[in-house]
């Protein structure tokens, strides 16, 4: 009797374990399928989706001028956007001027004061200037009739500063989900990740939170082996040695994710020195040309990019709508596009900021603006 009970108990335990194991395997394979599906979405050529109703952009822009203040004019990504905004604005008669600066808040203040004094219609804070940093000056500008707008700065989850009239947000959280799903797919659901972050940069928070959430959801066997937080000013002196140490101390690491792609220039030499090039996969975000070239050279594996020109057109469109009292979109709506070894040739040789994304948006915006 006792023997029979024992056998029955053991059988029940074994069956439970098998069921648990198989349901765990099911969860893993289902998660991987969802991740694969999500990644496929971003590998398809981006399509233009109208951010609002058509409007007479030329009539709206007549006599209007916008001062664009980038976080720093030394940043080629931001400078590239503003240069293209000048071209896009000129198509409808909007005067776009850049406030050249070297990333110092005192210089941003000067720009805001100039816009107030010279009666600009729009102040556009591009990517990185937190309106809270220069709030008194922005309040004065608002009271003088200048509309303050931001672009490519807030994540949709952020609360907009009250002084800001409208914001064209960018989905940093969405980037986090793409990176997580890519890590899962690239390792067949068994990613051991070294995640490199810069916590002092505001977009890092939603990006990393979504990365972790998505990883937990779609990849139960994936782990973040080490999270390395390096301040922006210390990227050059710390990332390389930290990555070397991480992969030496944790030989199971098979993916490195520097969340901003300019970090990669210090990750690649770390992998080269440790003899892990090609063995450890590297996925990142921003679409900076020299990092896209790394993919072509087989040194990195994936980069999520955005077209600068598309951002420029979307910014001009969104800000004009707000300036003319129309309903303004809440997001930039510029799609993310994955570059990997399959399509990296489309980015050009050497890679360019705007190549590979198609140009459907140009005629799309022109039709919306009534100029085509």
């Amino acid at each position: 009797m006792t023997k029979r009970v024992l056998i029955a108990s053991l059988t029940a335990i074994a069956a439970t374990m098998c069921m648990t194991g198989s349901s765990f395997a099911d969860a893993a394979s289902e998660g991987l399928a969802r991740a694969t599906e999500n990644i496929a979405k971003y590998k398809a050529k981006p399509e233009f989706v109208a951010p609002g109703d058509p409007f007479d952009a030329k009539a709206c822009a007549a006599g209007k001028k916008m001062l664009s203040i980038p976080n720093s004019s030394g940043n080629p990504f931001l400078k590239g956007i503003i240069d293209r905004m000048k071209v896009a604005g000129a198509e409808v008669g909007l005067e776009v001027r850049e406030w050249e600066n070297q990333g110092q808040p005192s210089q941003w203040v000067q720009g805001v004061e100039l816009a107030t004094r010279e009666k600009y219609d729009i102040i556009d804070l591009i990517s990185g200037i937190d309106p809270g940093t220069i709030e008194p000056q922005l309040k004065a500008a608002k009271e003088a009739g200048v509309k303050v707008m931001t672009s490519h700065f807030y994540d949709p989850s952020f609360e907009q500063n009250p002084v800001v009239s409208s914001s064209l947000t960018i989905g940093f959280g969405e980037v986090g989900t793409i990176l997580a799903d890519w890590a899962a797919v690239a390792t067949d659901g068994k990613a051991n990740i070294a995640l490199i972050v810069s916590n002092e940069v505001p977009p890092t928070i939603p990006l990393v939170a979504n990365f972790k959430e998505q990883l937990a959801k779609n990849c139960p066997d994936c782990t973040i082996t080490q999270e390395i937080n390096v301040g922006v000013t210390e990227w050059g002196t710390k990332i390389q040695t930290a990555v070397q140490s991480a992969v030496q101390a944790n030989p199971e690491i098979n993916v490195v994710i520097p969340i901003y792609d300019s970090m990669s220039q210090f990750v690649i030499p770390a992998l080269r020195l440790t003899g892990k090039t090609g063995e450890i996969k590297v996925g990142t975000f921003n679409g900076t040309p020299f990092v896209l070239d790394y993919i072509a050279q087989g040194l990195a594996d994936m980069n999520i990019g955005e077209s600068l020109d598309w951002i420029a057109y979307a910014t001009v469109d969104g800000h004009l709508r707000d300036a003319c009292g129309l309903e303004s979109p809440t997001a930039l709506n510029v799609p993310f596009y994955i570059f990997d070894k399959d399509n990296i040739a489309e980015a050009g040789t050497p890679a360019q900021f705007d190549t590979g994304y198609g140009d459907a948006y140009k005629s799309g915006f022109r039709k919306l603006w009534g100029i085509e």
Binding site: I228, K238, Q248, L273, V291, Y294
Partner: protein
């Protein structure tokens, strides 16, 4: 009579054991650090691969610290070494990648450019008698601007593979060549500092310019030479930096200035305490590197490495000063 004999007989100088210990104290602390991390990270810390990677990746920083101690010995500050490193690496990117110039010629141009930077500093420091701190601070800003202009503020990837191979590709005893370049520079500097009249003159100029001048030393020539050698070595560090990274970016090299100074001052507490010396500098660079590597391998947040660097520097220099009865030294 007996008393007279006693007083004139040669007395054996007493051995200052504290000073003898001070010479090797940092080496011992380094060894203890290695032992500590070997216990804390039993499988992965104490292996040749880990150390060979550390030796190579800190080679540009070592070369930069060596560059600093030449003018420091002669009593001048060169705050521009980080900017010179960046200018050198960026010029390699611009000429080699964008202008497609053969890498051999590019390296010659970069070293000559370093010489030019040294002569530029000398003109203002020696001829116009502007303090070295002011001139090299100004030239840092000047060179940073030029770098942003020539690179369009972008990172340049795709530097000639032969430079990458010469820095981190080829290995001797498992250690990439980059380390041996820094070691070679230290060896040459040690010979000059310790065995050539030039080294002695450099030291005398640093300890007292007027006394050196009255003793027939051409103080200005020595200072010009020190400033030029510092800039050329900083350029060489830029070459090594570009080789280790395989790319050139317009900003990151500037951040090597403070760690290099920290290593130079820490190095002056060992081997030849109280004096900037090349072997001490090398020991200091790799002692700090060992601490940073061990802490990183333990997964400790990276801000702790800043605390480790700063704490080690202040503690070592203070202990060194106490050991020598707070006497004047090259340091500060």
């Amino acid at each position: 009579m007996t008393d007279t004999v006693k007083s004139t007989s040669p007395t054996k100088p007493s051995v200052n054991y504290a000073r003898q210990f001070e010479r090797v104290a940092l080496l011992l602390v380094w060894a203890l650090t290695i032992v500590l991390f070997s216990f804390l990270i039993p499988n992965n810390f104490l292996n040749w691969g880990n150390f060979s990677i550390m030796f190579a990746s800190y080679a540009p920083a070592a070369l930069l610290a060596l560059a600093i101690i030449i003018p420091l010995t002669a009593g001048d500050y060169d705050l521009s070494v980080g900017a010179t490193l960046t200018l050198s690496a960026s010029t390699i990117g611009v000429l080699n990648v964008w202008q497609q110039m053969p890498i051999g010629w590019v390296l010659v141009i970069v070293l000559l450019m370093g010489l030019g930077v040294g002569l530029f500093h000398s003109l203002f420091i020696i001829y116009f008698r502007v303090p070295s701190l002011v001139v090299t601070l100004g030239s840092t800003s000047l060179m940073s601007g030029i770098v942003q202009w020539i690179t369009n503020s972008s990172t340049i990837g795709g530097i000639d593979n032969s430079l990458i191979m010469a820095a981190v590709g080829y290995r001797l005893f498992g250690i990439p060549y980059a380390f041996y370049y820094a070691l070679g520079a230290a060896l040459i500097m040690w010979y000059i500092f310790d065995f050539m009249p030039l080294g002695r003159r450099l030291l005398f100029v640093g300890r007292g310019r007027e006394v050196a001048r009255l003793n027939g030393i051409s103080v200005n020539k020595v200072r010009v030479g020190a400033l030029c050698m510092s800039a050329v070595l900083a350029s060489a560090a830029g070459i090594l930096y570009a080789g280790v990274l395989g790319s050139a970016d317009p900003y990151s090299g500037l951040n090597y200035l403070l760690p290099a100074f920290a290593a130079a001052f820490l190095g002056a507490t060992t081997i030849q305490p109280g004096r900037f010396n090349p072997w001490g500098t090398i020991v200091a660079v790799y002692f700090l590197a060992t601490g940073i590597t061990g802490l990183s391998m333990l997964g400790i947040p990276l801000w702790v490495t800043n605390v480790f660097n700063g704490g080690a520097l202040i503690l070592a220099v203070t202990i060194s000063q106490i050991t020598r009865g707070r006497e004047a030294s090259d340091i500060g």
